[in-house]
Symmetry: C2
């Protein structure tokens, strides 16, 4: 495999947009191309993540329409990927595998999503279609329910009072809002307090409203190429040194929700390929769709032993300035926002900017190696990428 | 690039099914694995095409659920592709590129689709989402309208009376129904006549009901691997010797609908890679979503000069037994059926079985080289594959 690197990265503001999925992707895509000093005519393939564009705005076949709007050459293929919340991470990974294997030299990858025209019940219902329609969905399960069960299972397994766990979880939210307060692209740039989380409305016991990430509009795009090509586009290449992906289907395949087997399988592939271990990771953008999800992830990714990660945020260990691995310096899904089909590419964008020292007030000092972690569905897809600057 | 070959292929009966998209894919997938004498645990990646499973049965994230239902190993990634009618062809092509480039040695690819729970207006409306939602869709255009316009443009350009063109088009339908009458998997295994086509209800002038392909349920799957791996699985390997893919977005990028630029771009890639020319192709499964579409395709793929293909079916040149390239020996989309996200893999299945001499009454004698052609949206995606037996 050839060395694969990232040139320009970009994301739209996350939040509520008046633009379509095509328009948002083009905003991020054109910016990423400009930063890479590359013209559309030189892009050899387009990898687009999108989950619910057909539901939200009546647009399927979106990769082809984005391709045309960007003015890419007709000979350059356009593919749409959909793998629940891990959609864009997978679009980026497939692009990287193709470049690494020699199919293409320079491609554009990313994702786009919009929920602006949906109310919360419709958004919740359509997002829940990523769970198993035949077996899980008929139980009435939605994702807040899945992660509420995971929180209860965690509390029970490790002998933590649920009220105590709620405080630990609240600290995750407070930390991620703090990080987002320094991120001009984030949906919520306002700090919150533990009390505010605990006093917010209950969504799915024990998860309060402020334990949950928002529905967001947004897009993100990255230019990926061979080392040689990327060296022509930027003097700060960031390398994709390891990737992983695993599939698990319905929740029954991950019966112990405190220890997600698909994530263990995926990140093990990435660590092995990269030749690094968890302690080598300076910062990680991970899938904090709910605060409990961040706690589960930091354990499963190897930053903490199982059952030992719950108080990491409270102790400040995952916060900017910590000497341990900084978790979600962007603000994470919780505060930066979570446009489903775009999230993975935005995680990549954050890591790349951090590794280039371009993250302003929220810069993780001396960051050299970063991990992307995205989870889809009821743990049915996990995708990881390890990035390193030279 | 390594040589890429196909081992087992399979498809469900096309028509109306009581099974879900997951179940249909598993039916075809297990059959393809069994024919390849390979166990699920040895499949390294899954490439699934599906267009509207979220609309039809509330199931997105379908690749992961199919992966689990098939019992593939957790380490093996599962990707869903959506590119309108070309969805499964692209899933197969991406799989072939990955195998050729050395990422995987053996994978499973295909597609699945179900419209059973939709009535015709809803199916028409949701399928039309593949056109450009911002510019084409607001004109009220649906796909019968697109191809009706193409038929008028063709008649006008080549000075053919529209009533005459209707008869030529009817002959395409008659020929494809004749082929399907010998295909036990086809949705319509009944022969029809030119009069029957011309007397069927008008759908979009000049296209009668029997000029239009049906909405279908079905799935198809193929096992793809390196030459070496496939030689262990079958003594009749079929090689993927050339592929192409092009993107064009909205209809405005193909203003002359008699000459589809995306198709010209895509098939030129495939011919070049394969080192063959149109006259080398013994049989072709192409995108006859409407009868006029077959006439446009046989010209664009190089079997006929532009403006000279309209009477090929009437003259019997594209019919089984002809010494020229046999077109749609399976019955095509028109009579075999068109489960959107599965169609490309079923086209591959037909060509592979033909090249192996396993097509029974509809066998194209001495077939060595076959072409797959699938068109998505308002000409916004075209994908081609050239297959050859040894």
């Amino acid at each position: 495999m050839r060395e694969v690197a990232i040139a320009g990265v970009s994301m739209t503001d996350f939040g509520v947009s008046e633009n379509t999925c095509v328009e948002m992707f083009c905003e991020a895509g054109i910016d990423a191309l400009n930063k890479s000093k590359i013209e559309p005519k030189n892009i050899e393939a387009l990898f687009v993540g999108n989950c619910l564009g057909d539901f939200e705005e009546g647009q399927s076949h979106i990769a082809s329409h984005i391709h045309a709007a960007l003015g890419l050459p007709m000979d350059s293929p356009a593919m749409r990927y959909e793998n629940a919340c891990a959609t864009a991470t997978i679009a980026v990974r497939q692009a990287a595998l193709m470049v690494g294997a020699g199919v293409y030299d320079v491609v554009l990858a990313g994702g786009t999503e919009r929920v602006a025209a949906m109310d919360t019940p419709l958004a919740t219902r359509t997002f829940a279609m990523a769970s198993n329609a035949g077996y899980s969905a008929p139980t009435g399960i939605t994702f807040p329910g899945v992660f509420a069960m995971a929180a209860h299972m965690y509390a029970d397994k490790y002998g933590i009072e649920i009220e105590e766990l709620q405080k630990y979880m609240a600290n995750v939210s407070v930390k991620n809002h703090y990080h987002a307060s320094m991120n001009p692209k984030a949906q919520f740039q306002k700090e919150i307090t533990v009390d505010k989380v605990l006093n917010s409305v209950m969504v799915a016991d024990p998860l309060h409203f402020l334990d949950c990430c928002p529905f967001s509009d947004g897009a993100s795009a990255v230019v990926i190429g061979t080392k040689q090509k990327v060296m022509e586009m930027t003097d700060k290449p960031v390398y994709i040194i390891g990737t992983g992906q695993a599939a698990g289907g319905p929740i029954i395949n991950n019966p112990d929700m405190t220890r997600i087997k698909t994530r263990e399988a995926s990140v093990a592939q990435a660590y092995k390929e990269a030749g690094v271990k968890p302690s080598d990771i300076d910062l990680c953008e991970l899938h904090d769709c709910f605060t409990i999800a961040e706690i589960l992830a930091i354990e499963c990714l190897g930053f903490y032993e199982f059952g030992k990660g719950y108080d990491a945020a409270q102790k400040g260990e995952t916060r900017l300035g910590s000497k341990k691995t900084v978790i979600n310096p962007s603000g994470g899904l919780k505060a930066k926002g979570h446009p489903i089909g775009a999230t993975g590419a935005a995680q990549v964008t954050e890591i790349v900017e951090q590794l280039r020292g371009e993250s302003g007030k929220r810069q993780v000092e001396g960051a050299k190696t970063g991990l992307v972690d995205t989870l889809g569905g009821e743990f049915g897809t996990v995708c990881n990428l390890i990035l390193r600057s030279e």
